[in-house]
Subunit: 425 residues, 2 copies
């Protein structure tokens, strides 16, 4: 039976798989430094026997694109890597997409081991990017390795993508789409904790300038505190979040406390303890529902910030200034009836003997771009948990990497199909 063959191969190649993940985690691939990790990927793709395509996206051309979102415009030394497994024909094609970039390690003091140690403790590999999302990438590579090693031919093409720039909005995936890579469906193994996400929230960053009027702290009543006014703004945003989330009725969101949160993540204002602050800057992230466009979400927020004047006349003459900046992720959604969901669900059931949880994603991924701009319906499903992503002491459970590898290998076979003549398994 196919499943037990794959399972057996994965078990006998566990050491190899763990070493590959360790090597990838040890390669610091923060944005601008992806080269070393991509070399590890390229070597692995060659070993598996895939046709490899490596290129550095041309920032000068891409930066005019309406879907461009990146903090830089120059990608020399930051290649995208694609590996193609050509099918025998007549099958459905599948993109397997994972990003190679990791977020910065943050406060080193909070790391128990060095951020790129790749240390293994109690069945977990530690390091920046272990969960987000080198663990998932290794699941993909293991799935492909297993199928090739077991000599299982496929009718449809499989396109493996190791892309840059997901953490700043998906330039790498945008470049891959524009290079012509599309497929009948895609899987992105971001850390969903093995939940299946057919819908993904989009998101974008905003900045709000809240004005006050300066005065000496000893006569603070002669000024207007931008800090106090910014409290109103934070509360007002909280109210908008409430309203937007009341509209979300999709049962996929039923277990999520706040389906599309608006997070105010940064605040900064005033420059002297004994002066009244005359300016506060707020920065945050607005979740975008799969049922709305980025433009609609922007429009709603802009109107809402304008309406501050209705709760405090101060804002009439001193409006809070809203701007959109930095990263942005397009929302994406495929219908629950999509055949890939059925196939993934059945592989999941076969491997783990239980029903998977199907939910909507609390964050954006490159799946939004792939689905809505790349015409490639995408599911997000992978090992690792959100709670570890972007934080100190990030780790991934090795078992989960192998479980996902097995589920995805089965799904590939099921989706792409096997030529009738070889159906001997």
């Amino acid at each position: 039976m196919l499943q037990s063959q794959i399972n057996q191969w994965l078990t006998s190649n566990r050491v190899h798989g763990v070493k590959l993940l360790q090597k990838l985690v040890q390669a610091d691939s923060t944005q601008g430094n992806e080269q070393q990790a991509q070399k590890v990927v390229i070597k692995t793709l060659h070993k598996i026997g895939l046709k490899v395509d490596v290129w550095e996206p041309d920032g000068s051309k891409l930066s005019d694109h309406p879907n461009f979102s990146s903090s830089r415009q120059e990608f020399i030394g930051s290649p995208n890597v694609v590996g193609i497994l050509k099918g025998t024909g007549d099958g459905r094609s599948l993109i397997l997409n994972g990003h190679i970039d990791v977020v910065p390690e943050g406060d080193l003091e909070q790391w128990e081991h060095a951020p790129y140690s790749g240390k293994i403790i109690d069945g977990k590999i530690y390091g920046r990017g272990a969960t987000d999302m080198k663990g998932g990438n290794v699941s993909l590579l293991l799935a492909l390795s297993a199928l090739r090693a077991l000599g299982i031919p496929l009718k449809g093409d499989v396109i493996f993508q190791s892309v840059i720039e997901e953490e700043s909005g998906g330039l790498g995936t945008l470049a891959a789409i524009l290079r012509g890579y599309k497929a009948d469906a895609a899987i992105i193994p971001e850390p969903t904790n093995l939940k299946i996400f057919p819908k993904q929230q989009g998101s974008m960053w905003f900045r709000i300038h809240v004005k006050g009027r300066s005065a000496h702290g000893g006569t603070r009543y002669e000024g207007v505190s931008a800090i106090e006014k910014s409290l109103l703004v934070v509360e007002h945003i909280r109210e908008l979040e409430k309203r937007r989330n009341q509209r979300i009725t999709d049962p996929l969101y039923s277990k999520i406390p706040i389906p599309i949160p608006i997070n105010v993540g940064k605040i900064e204002g005033g420059d002297w303890p004994s002066s009244v602050a005359d300016l506060v800057k707020l920065e945050g992230r607005m979740g975008i529902s799969p049922e709305e466009t980025i433009a609609e979400a922007k429009h709603e927020m802009e109107g809402w910030i304008e309406s501050l004047k209705d709760i405090d006349p101060w804002f009439e003459e001193h409006p809070a200034i809203l701007e959109w900046f930095g990263a942005r992720w397009v929302p994406g959604s495929i219908g629950l009836e999509h055949e890939l969901i059925g196939k993934l669900t059945s592989s999941y059931r076969d491997v783990l003997g239980e029903e998977p949880v199907i939910e909507a994603s609390p964050w954006g991924t490159d799946g939004g771009l792939l689905t809505s701009f790349g015409e490639t319906p995408t599911i997000v499903f992978g090992p690792g948990v959100t709670e570890k992503a972007h934080f100190p002491n990030e780790y991934i459970e090795i078992d989960k990497v192998f479980e996902v590898a097995e589920i995805i290998a089965l799904t590939i076979v099921d989706w792409c199909g096997v030529p009738a003549s070889t159906r001997v398994l």
Copy 2:
């Protein structure tokens, strides 16, 4: 009549006085750069004919003193200057104290003219320090010049002080007290807009660390926002301010909306728009009533911040951390029956033909130190307005500088006394 003689002298020497003020304003005397301005003062004191004492405070000795408050411990190149006019004997002594340091010029964009231009427009001199408090210092120097030029001998000593470091808590005045300078009373011509301040609020700076728990912004409900918690802290402090001010019943404060404000002047927290902020720092200034000690005020604030746990259990396990840092001004107070108030009031009446406003000061000055530690009861009274101090386009009205000079000259004579033999005026 004495007053008309003084008035006449001041009128004929107006150009000279304005030039002196202009020269002082043009000398940037931000902390660490006081030398040039002090040279102008020293030259003027020599011209008037005073005995001059110049010394650099010894930071290594002073920094252990319980009243030490400064952002630095080294004062080389930052001299204190004192000029002594010895009396003939049997009179009351008077300290005339003004600080030479000015606060930084801040955002240059907001200045219409260069901050140290000393430009004169419509009877006002513009520049950093014009109001706070070189204008007042020149009033003192003009008063002494007039008395000396008119040959009026005094029974009591007059001690003129041009001190450093007032803006960071009074190290210069502390050093002068420790050098032995005390008197029967003192006047500090800080910008009171010609109001008489027998009571001065003290103040001190605080910093509060408000903790949260980090999480991804897309699942913000899994974290605890230090920004939202800090809103509670700001509101809680507002409540303390209310309680503390309800206790202030002194009629001197009756026209002041908030006698002893607590100003939260700075906020900073979070480091990523799409993460939940796990730390916010608040910085502010707490006003201290003349009726309480610094220790009492600290104690009250500390207990209040601790009581945050009663309004939100989060603070039970994650208490907000309060620390005292930076500048601190001791409160000071002299009784309304003090004879210097009577003499100043009567001089004011003589010069301006109306009753002065007697109020309590909304900010701290070196008068707190002089009164409570230096055993020298101090009144604050000077030209210039608080609204211009510390802000761009600071200026002072030249007329006010001369009015105060006249009032103070008369007060000196009245307080220190004139030997009977020369009472020919």
